[in-house]
């Protein structure tokens, strides 16, 4: 017996060790990299919030703040904030509760094997009196405009039973022609942001507009002519508001108005004043230009640059390759690599200071001294091109470039004879132009001088974004009464005596001028959800009849610019979304070189330059709490939920940094810590940082604690760029969140070597992903000469940018002929309708890679149209971002100065789709009209389809991503699209809901669907009409024509999946000497 027990133990040791061994064996390797899916603790605990608040506020309002922090609302905010951040593995009440429901659901489902649980009783709330024109279930469309500092964007808002559910360009507007952009699209979520401030607050306690109005008015009356009343406003875009201000000034001559925004147009203001004697805006007729030079102007990046929509459209129009059409050529000189830069035929990366010298040198016609050889070449080619264009050229300076650049641009445009042809100079779009930083300085001076009694801030957040050197927060504390009108109780709001909740532009009356000067009436789409107020109300409060509503004010002022019978004119203006005959006309001609002198170039200083840029996704921070924009992979960098210290490979090496190392940037005494990130084509010796990040908890559940705050090192005299900065590595590492090609995983060392015969393997370093994209002929392009030689270049070898004969499973990298299939005619997509003998519809899409500028507008549009959820940083980091559509960015060639290619990639709706074949429950199937349709409610979530999708365009709800709790978000959802639950696969559906709607209308009227009647969300948003959708069986349709082009090709054609989405190979027009 003893013996037995003895051997027992030994026998068991053996087994025990066994399992331990095997475990060990498996743990060690997988444990090597940091386990990303482990959830880092949420950005901020409640305790820290308190600390932060107290810290921020000093003693004065500690009481209110504590109360604020104690309010249940605030707690909920914090609670709900976590799940977004949490991702996997956090015990979150809300989430696990939902989880339990799911499990209950499961048991129910099993009980009644029907797959659907017994639904609870659903109540119906009919109207008391139904509005006349309302047909429930049929959307209505209203025209309005999105006021943006660089000019209003006219929009058409889709409204479902009076809830705005989609914002798109206004097709009837002469300037925008129905196009839109990321920001405009995102304003929808901005409207429904659950963190918007909902009350008037006085010292943190809920108060009322009335009380404020009285307090303000009476206080104003006491002052001598408004002495000590200062308005600090965001850029004023509304003519009506300007008029109101004049009235205020009439009543209170001493009152002052300061316009200030962190990202402004000071350069052009200063330069134009110097050049033309008065503030002037430039309007470019880019479609007229054969040669375009952008001096740090990201005019394809978004409405951050004035006139983005017409410029992008114009550029693309002239950049399309069509017979007998001269293709334009784009030169870009810039610092931060932008989509504009990478669309350019020739791009030169320079430090901000060098750009100025370059521009001036160009104006003077002599190459800048100390320029490198390839800069010389660039300069020579450029200037010759410009001269030879005979005035059919244009020089566009960027708003974030220094005044000198603008001055030089004015000079160049007139000397090249472009003025009047491709550029006209008009009065400013904004009614009250000013040089904002200067004004801000004087304001702070006045405050410190104790002149300011009332500081009324209209939609600005200076505590967060004011130039660091102004020490605005200290000044702020000296103002007796501070009032802030803002959409959020932000950094400024929490410490202001009064906080007035601002109404969203979709909730309020106003007006604004578009880029071309056309005035649009801004009309509300919905009653202010939280009874917010607009700047109009604020100013009106000081006027004789404070009860006048914004509507009255706008109507009153509209009488000044609406010609003819007002009633009809007004109705027309509201209907069309713009007022006829209000566009600007050219004022005077060009300007000489004289102005250049007044902006001496800064003495070249040693040390790094820091370039400050508005973020391509969240701009100056105004979109910080818009999940769509935070998650949107940024142009070029593909950063999501982060900003970084962006630098070149060499700078990275010089600073002995590796990517995602935290680096401390010091600008005369002020410092900030940022993660380092290499971006190909970035000039050496300069670091680009994007503004708008590092918001506090006041930013809201989404925006708080994302990225670092670049404003902390931004000074009033170095608002655009500053030199003499230092950067040093600090210990630790920061896990940057980057999606797609430049996913940190695949950057590695930048010296990956070619696998076989080198194609784009230039000397030096290149991106494996980009290299592979070329090798796999995912990207195909040719130069103008090549395409002239061989129009079939996309399918035959020969073009420098196209490699097709080495790819894949079929020798030519082309799709195998249909006859070779085992089942060539298993399904016929050209069936005839027996009764009408009409051929059925077959939906398809064509994407013109020449026109795609990678601006991301399509993605945000898709977000709104298809109820795509926001998953949060942790999830994006492990590759679970849910965008149905992505813009693939491939860097070709040496990463010091690469080419880049943008390729919109969504479900290709393959006719022989791999995904369908492997789904065991038939949750994804093919429709008779050739759409690869995903049936969410049938999906059990095996994810096999995603594995078998070579385009990896399927998205899976790994967790419950859709927000089922937040009320305000429910208003926003598109009622025609299912909100996907957890465990379900989803993907681009070609906007099948729009297709079905069109079919129903057409069937009712017994007619065919017209070409262009169905427009997908991405197509609708695209500023350059790169996307075409339609019936490929209708040979007359635009999509059929596009697919008939010789340049049309399928990505991964050799897999013979027969995608319905095809791409039109790009054509570039390089300068012969630079090619």
């Amino acid at each position: 017996m003893m013996k037995t027990t003895g051997s027992t133990t030994t026998g068991f040791k053996a087994i025990g060790n066994g399992t331990e061994d095997t475990m060990a064996e498996m743990k060690t390797p997988a444990a090597q990299p940091v386990v990303v899916t482990q959830i880092s603790p949420a950005k901020m605990t409640l305790a820290e919030v308190h600390a932060k608040l107290d810290g921020k506020t000093g003693r004065r309002f500690w009481k209110n703040l504590d109360e604020l922090a104690e309010t249940p609302a605030f707690h909920d905010l914090m609670k709900e904030e976590f799940p977004r951040q949490a991702g996997a593995g956090e015990w979150v009440d809300a989430v696990s509760r939902r989880g339990f429901l799911k499990v209950m659901g499961a048991s129910f489902a099993l009980a009644g094997l029907a797959g659907c649980t017994k639904q609870p009783d659903e109540p119906i709330f009919p109207y008391i009196k139904q509005p006349e024109d309302l047909v429930l279930g049929k959307p209505m469309y209203f025209a309005t405009a999105y006021p943006f500092p660089t000019g209003a964007i006219p929009v058409l808002v889709k409204s479902d039973s009076f809830r705005p559910i989609k914002v798109d360009g206004n097709p009837e507007h002469p300037m925008s022609k129905g196009k839109s952009d990321t920001f405009t699209q995102a304003t929808l979520l901005d409207l429904y942001d659950p963190d918007r401030s909902q009350h008037v607050l006085h010292r943190g306690e809920v108060s009322s507009w009335g009380e404020f109005q009285q307090a303000f008015a009476s206080a104003a009356k006491k002052t001598s002519g408004g002495q000590g009343i200062y308005f600090l406003s965001e850029t004023i875009t509304s003519p009506t508001l300007a008029t109101q201000w004049k009235q205020v000034q009439a009543a209170y001559p001493q009152a002052k108005l300061v316009q200030w925004e962190p990202v402004n147009q000071d350069s052009s203001r200063a330069a134009s004043k110097a050049a033309f004697g008065s503030y002037t805006d430039a309007q470019y007729k880019i479609e007229e230009a054969d040669v375009i030079l952008s001096l740090d102007a990201d005019f394809l990046g978004g409405i951050g640059h004035p006139g983005f929509l017409p410029l992008a459209a114009g550029y693309a129009e002239r950049h399309r390759y069509e017979e007998g059409k001269t293709m334009n050529r784009l030169y870009v000189v810039e610092t931060m690599p932008t989509v504009t830069g990478f669309k350019a035929e020739h791009r030169l990366g320079l430090k901000p200071s060098e750009i100025a010298t370059f521009a001036v040198a160009l104006a003077n016609g002599a190459a800048p001294q100390g320029a490198s050889s390839e800069q010389q070449k660039f300069f020579a080619a450029l200037s010759s091109d410009l001269k030879n264009s005979g005035g059919k050229c244009v020089v566009i300076p960027g708003e974030q470039a220094s005044p000198a650049v603008h001055a030089a641009a004015y000079a160049l445009n007139s000397s090249l004879g472009a003025v009047g042809k491709t550029v006209i100079y008009t009065e400013t779009v904004n009614p009250m132009p000013s040089e904002q930083v200067a004004e801000m300085k004087s304001l702070v001076a006045d405050i410190n001088a104790g002149k300011v009694q009332w500081l009324v801030m209209l939609g600005v957040n200076p505590i967060y974004s004011a130039p660091a050197d102004l020490e605005f927060q200290d000044a702020f504390a000296k103002v007796p009464v501070t009032v802030q009108l803002a959409s959020h109780v932000d950094e400024t709001g929490v410490i202001s005596n009064w906080h007035i909740n601002k109404s969203h532009y979709l909730e309020s009356w106003s007006d604004a001028r578009a880029y071309d000067g056309t005035i649009s009436i801004i009309q509300p789409m919905i009653d202010p959800m939280y009874g917010g107020r607009s700047s109009h109300d604020m100013l009106q409060a000081l006027l004789a009849d404070p009860q006048q509503s914004a509507y009255d004010v706008v109507v009153a002022n509209a009488k000044t610019y609406i010609k003819g019978d007002f009633a009809t004119g007004w109705r027309k203006a509201l209907h069309d979304g713009w007022v006829e005959g209000t566009a600007f006309t050219a004022k005077g001609g060009g300007a000489g070189k004289s102005a250049i002198a007044s902006f001496p170039s800064a003495p070249a200083s040693n040390g790094l330059e820091i370039s400050f840029r508005p973020d391509p996704s969240i701009y100056d921070g105004r979109f910080a709490n818009v999940g769509w924009m935070q998650e949107l992979p940024k142009q070029v960098t593909n950063l999501s939920w982060d900003n970084a210290a962006i630098m070149s490979i060499n700078t990275l090496a010089d600073l002995k940094l590796d990517e995602s190392d935290p680096v401390k940037i010091t600008v005369n005494g002020r410092e900030v810590i940022a993660p380092a990130l290499m971006i190909p084509g970035h000039p050496d010796g300069v670091i680009t940082v994007h503004l708008g990040f590092g918001r506090g908890v006041q930013a809201g559940r989404v925006g708080q604690g994302v990225g670092f705050d670049a404003y902390q090192i931004r000074n009033s005299d170095g608002a655009l760029f500053v030199s003499g900065a230092t950067a040093v590595k600090v210990p630790g590492t920061y896990d940057l969140c980057i999606t797609k090609v430049h996913n940190i995983e695949h950057r590695g060392s930048f010296a990956q070597h070619d696998l076989e015969k080198p194609l784009s393997d230039k000397e030096g370093v290149y991106s494996l992903a980009g290299h592979e994209a070329m090798e796999r002929s995912i990207i195909r392009y040719a130069t103008l000469d090549e395409v002239k030689k061989n129009p079939k270049f996309a399918h035959e070898d020969g073009a420098s940018g196209t490699l097709i004969d080495k790819v894949g499973y079929s020798p030519q990298g082309e799709t195998v002929p249909k006859e070779n299939s085992f089942f060539p005619n298993a399904w016929n997509y050209e069936k005839q309708d027996p009764s009408t003998l009409k051929i059925q519809n077959a939906w398809g899409m064509a994407i013109d890679l020449n026109s795609c500028i990678g601006c991301n507008a399509c993605i945000v549009s898709c977000y709104a149209e298809n109820n795509v959820p926001v998953v949060g940083r942790e999830q994006v980091k492990v590759g679970r971002n849910m965008q149905w559509l992505r813009i693939d960015t491939y860097f070709e060639g040496d990463l010091h100065a690469p080419k880049a290619h943008f390729q919109p990639m969504a479900c290709q709706h393959c006719e022989n789709a791999g995904c369908e074949q492997v789904c065991p429950v038939g949750a994804t199937v093919h429709t008779p009209e050739g759409i690869n349709t995903m049936v969410y409610n049938r999906c059990v979530g095996t994810r096999y389809c995603s594995n078998n999708c070579p385009y990896k365009v399927r998205r899976f709800n790994f967790l419950l991503y859709s927000d089922y709790d937040t009320e305000s978000l429910k208003f926003m959802r598109n009622p025609d699209v299912t909100v996907r639950s957890r465990g379900v696969m989803e993907k681009c559906s070609y906007c099948v809901q729009r297709i079905e709607a069109a079919k129903i209308t057409a069937d009712k009227e017994n007619r065919e669907i017209r070409d262009g009647e169905i427009v997908t969300a991405c197509q609708q948003a695209c500023p350059t009409s790169a996307i075409t959708f339609g019936n490929i069986n209708d040979k007359a349709s635009r999509v059929a024509k596009a697919k008939a082009e010789e340049r049309d090709y399928q990505v991964l054609a050799d897999l013979a999946f027969r995608p319905r989405t095809t791409y039109t190979a790009g054509v570039i027009n390089p300068h012969p000497e630079l090619a």
Binding site: T5, S7, T8, F12, I15, G16, T19, D21, T22, E25, M26, P29, A30, V35, T37, G87, A88, V95, G99, V103, A106, S107, L110, A114, G115, V741, N743, E745, H746, A769, G770, E772, R776, V807, G808, Y809, Q875, G879, D888, Q903, V918, P920, V921, G922, C939, V940, G941, T942, R943, Y944, S946, N947, P950, Y951, K952, F956, F958, R982, G983, V984
Partner: protein, 480 residues
């Protein structure tokens, strides 16, 4: 006979059969009663060894990992795992294939070796089959829990429903449902049929009434009637005949999960054969992992002899070589196909960010076993075999890891390249299933006859039917 060299293991020498030079399948000196007592004793003993309780608790404790893991999984979703896009499959599928593979050896031993009249397999086939069933249990959990909406997993079965929607039979996953469920049912029935006569024995030897009734019912009243035996034999032969194509088909179908897909690294015609070989490979490794401790613990050295270990090692050598050939072919085809996809996949598999996995696989699956197993010395070295079996199991797990993960995370479109990292939940559930396996196995060795008594009896010399009373005495002498 060179093989008759000095053996380090003292108990070895007498075991060598002088005629063949092979190790005997059963130590001499055993008779019907002794084997019966030995085997039945383990089940019917009244004082269970403490070690058993210990092992059961360890197994059960670890198995809790599955329970906890799955609870959280059902609450939150598969997002708690490392799966992502592009790597939408991860541990769950890897473990599924791994476990199923392990199961295969059991069926192979009980069926194929039976058809080949390899009598030596008699002593190990019972717990090899048990291993199969428990492995299939562990494997079976994964396909169920790995789907996004597990509560709807029953949609994979063809049942009449109000949606008029049915499974989609072009999908390999639908095939899996049929293959795995069939495999499980047939294995269980085969296992049970095999045990009926032994249940009879247990019923008759049991002293506790409870045990009598329990085994009595399981035995269905088996009484060893010759007519029964004939039908019984033919039935088990048929089941063996059916299990053979079944076991080959099951892992073939599993391999279709990959081979049918259009992914470079999956889309390979060589998968079916080398998946089956790999399965047997890992299966025999697992049999060794189990047999070696058990024979020591229950002093079965003379029923599960070095002959068995030696033979199993030889089978591993054979199957391992097939697997090696498979790997070789993958590399060769990557070059020979001249397809960029194949080439890049292979290059990435070896030298990409996850190259380490590939080299671990080569080391543990090919380098170590296939070099050492040629030596008979090592083949009969119990300790070495045990360690080797663990190494091979690891290796086979990594084979699936390499196939599933490294093919997925860098596929056709570079823009969608990603990576895969397992989370604590992945590990918890995986290790949990090992616990579950151990737990079930301990229950088995305690309550069921782990070696088929009737079949062992057939291997004893006394089975010789001899006319005339002459040897009758001798026999009776032995039995007394």
């Amino acid at each position: 006979m060179a093989t008759k060299g000095p053996m380090q293991d003292p108990i070895v020498d007498p075991m060598i059969d002088p005629r063949t030079g092979e190790y005997a399948v059963i130590a001499p000196g055993h008779n019907f009663k002794s084997v019966t007592q030995k085997i039945a004793g383990i089940v019917l003993t009244s004082n269970t060894p403490l070690g058993w309780f210990f092992g059961l608790m360890v197994g059960g404790g670890v198995a809790l990992g599955v329970v906890i893991g799955c609870t959280w999984l059902f609450l939150k979703g598969v997002g708690i795992w490392g799966v992502t896009i592009p790597g939408a499959w991860g541990f769950a599928i890897i473990n599924f294939v791994w476990w199923i593979g392990i199961g295969h050896a059991g069926t192979l031993i009980s069926a194929i070796l039976l058809l080949f009249k390899q009598t030596w397999r008699n002593s190990i086939n019972r717990f090899a089959e048990a291993m199969t069933i428990f492995a299939v249990v562990c494997a079976g959990t994964f396909p169920l829990i790995h789907v996004g909406r597990p509560w709807l997993a029953y949609w994979l079965f063809p049942y009449p429903n109000t949606m008029n929607v049915w499974p989609q039979f072009r999908s390999p996953l639908a095939w899996d449902v049929f293959a795995v469920s069939t495999y499980a049912s047939i294995s269980i029935i085969f296992w049970y049929i095999g045990m009926i006569p032994d249940f009879g024995t247990l019923r008759d030897r049991a002293t506790m009434p409870a045990a009598k009734y329990f085994y009595g019912m399981l035995s269905l009243g088996w009484r060893g009637s010759t007519r029964h035996w004939i039908r019984y034999e033919s039935a088990s032969l048929l089941l063996a005949g059916l299990s053979t194509p079944l076991v080959l088909s099951v892992h073939t179908v599993i391999s279709f999960d990959f081979a049918v897909a259009a992914l470079a690294g999956w889309h390979t015609t060589i998968f079916p054969p080398y998946f089956v070989a790999g399965a047997v490979y890992s299966g025999f490794a697992m049999v060794l992992t189990l047999a070696i401790p058990i024979r020591k613990f229950y002093h079965m050295e003379d029923l599960v002899t070095l002959r068995h270990l030696d033979n199993m090692a030889k089978v591993m050598l054979a199957t391992g070589s097939i697997v090696a050939y498979g790997y070789g072919m993958e590399v060769f085809m990557a070059w020979y196909s001249a397809s960029h996809w194949e080439f890049f996949m292979m290059w990435n598999r070896m030298f990409g960010p996850m190259g380490w996995a590939y080299w671990i696989l080569i080391l543990t699956n090919i380098a170590i076993p296939l070099t050492s197993l040629w030596s008979r010395k090592l083949r009969v070295n119990v300790t070495y075999l045990f360690i080797l079996s663990l190494i091979v199991n690891t290796g086979m797990w990594f084979e699936r890891f390499v196939i599933v993960v490294t093919s997925l995370y860098r596929d056709y479109l570079p823009s969608s390249w990603g990576t895969y990292r397992a989370t604590k939940w992945d590990y918890m559930i995986y290790v949990g299933t090992m616990g579950l396996f151990t737990f079930l196995f301990f229950l088995f060795v305690r309550f069921l006859p782990m070696i088929p008594m009737s079949e062992i009896r057939m291997m004893l010399p006394q089975t010789k039917v001899t006319r005339g009373g002459a040897d009758a005495e001798t026999v009776s002498k032995e039995t007394v």
